[in-house]
Symmetry: C2
Subunit: 140 residues, 2 copies
DNA sequence: ATGGGGCTTCCCATGATGGGAGGGTCAATA
DNA sequence: TATTGACCCTCCCATCATGGGAAGCCCCAT
């Protein structure tokens, strides 16, 4: 099948398919006489694998490792699990960062009257003297 | 003061200070005879404002608006609050996305034996038949 | 005058993705 | 058969905020 059909079947855009090929995430597929890329069901399967891994937030680099493990019959599930756990930990860090931001900001929002007057604790905090602690706590 | 001192005083890297100037987030500062940038306490204050806003996850574009409001004596706190609330909502969306990823992945991790055998529910899920629902639920 | 540190500009890279131009190909239809 | 519309190709550029580094000027202290 051509790239359009492979895209529809896998849920990966044509742009992405070509990109994945260019960076070596997937091997270059065969070309027909007109130089069109030709995909097999197997290729579509791999693309869908990538799409699902991306949906879980894995980076391309991690997906490269996941696919290697996937194709490695001699793999151990411990290897896969370790990779996944690393990613869970990274997600935890990011979630914690964003949650801290959200909390700090939400607190400021709650303190803000939101009326026609210019007084605003949000701006006050952002413009705070160097010793202010509110925002720093969100970053630390 | 020169850019190095301004950087130390504001907590914004020299690279970033020049970048902020280049994109118009801050106005170009005066130059000394040797074409060195010269900063005032006021400039440092603005840079620290930007740093704090970035630490709360505001985009450059949003910070541009925040600074305009900051300098606008005729602003209403309602405007600032609205901007902040928009950002809180965006954070909520991202946190929810990542939390969903984390949960799906953590579930798979918990199902994985993590031993010397190759059987792995994590890979099984990623390679799932097109009707599989696990990952889709993390994206939806 | 020499060395080291600070400043300048300019270019490139990141990660994953989208947009678009410019051009070739194919299949169906008028 | 000629045209049209859908498909495909490659190549370049843009995003967003940031870092790295090169090449070169400037200043101060030794």
């Amino acid at each position: 099948m051509n790239i359009g059909e492979a895209s529809r079947a896998s849920g990966v855009t044509q742009k992405m398919i070509r990109y994945y090929e260019s960076i070596g995430l997937i091997a270059p597929v065969k070309r027909s006489a007109n130089s069109y890329r030709v995909y097999t069901e197997n290729d579509v399967h791999s693309l869908a694998f990538i799409r699902r891994a991306r949906a879980l937030g894995f980076s391309i680099e991690q997906i490269q490792k996941l696919m290697a493990l996937w194709h490695d019959k001699g793999r151990t599930s411990a290897e896969v699990k370790a990779l996944a756990q690393t990613h869970v930990a990274a997600l935890d860090v990011k979630i914690a960062e964003m949650t801290a931001m959200r909390q700090t900001l939400q607190h400021l929002v709650a303190c803000c009257q939101g009326n026609d007057r210019p007084d605003c604790p949000i701006l006050d905090d952002l413009a705070a003297a160097p010793d202010g602690k509110t925002v720093q706590s969100a970053t630390a």
